[in-house]
Amino acid sequence: MAMRQQILSSPETLSDLAWAAEQRFADAQNLLDGARFTGAVYFLGLSVEIWLKLACFRFLGATLASPVHAQLGPARAWMRVHAPMTGHESYHSLLFWTEYLIRRRLASARPLSTNLAGELRHHVANRLFADWLIDLRYRFASVSEGLATRVYNDALWVRHSWPSLWR
């Protein structure tokens, strides 16, 4: 089956997302090893975006079989009321998913611990959000090894922490 048909034939699920995040992260590691820093940062950002979505949706009760697209409209509607200034950037904004997670947990009377919320803001809202956006895919960009390493370390924190972000 052709790739397009394969992907469009069924709605993507949280399980698909989880596998994709690991695949993108492994691709990023290979690119880092080959000193392809811009590509590495692009894939690291995608991984982080996916892990944040997984944390949000799992916190709200989604299972690994739950469809992803069906949860985007509710996220947008909820954030339009609770954080109207935070744009979703076609649902790719790392800041949008960070705020959504923190605020939904707070609204559900199950807030993140101060420590975890602080680390999440530090690694994602303060750093990764500034260092990555989806538009990188259409731009020529020059990324230094230092920046790529920092993005890698921030992404590594998200990779290790996302299960704690929804439990």
Binding site: G61, P67, H69, A70, Q71, G73, P74, A77, W78, V81
Partner: protein, 101 residues
Amino acid sequence: MPVREYKPGRTAQYDELVRELAAEWAQSRGSEPVIYEERDRQGKLMHVYVVWSRWHDVDRAQRSEIIMDAAQKRLPESEWLNITIAMGLEPDEARHLGLGQ
């Protein structure tokens, strides 16, 4: 001549689908769209599935947005803000998932 900001809105089709779905939510008028509401143990609305042939040209994320915009027009805030899954399905897709059988 004054310069005014132009902000392109949603497509006419988007607005029309929101209007029609909201109207159906208020009062069922035909065989479609079919709206399935799933509630939790406390009776809170959690998931909404809308089966509709008119989803054909609408991508999956936008279907979810249209359902939420229609819900916002028809349901109290305490209800629609609680929705976590809003899924639009064409009749064939719904049958494939076993919805409504």
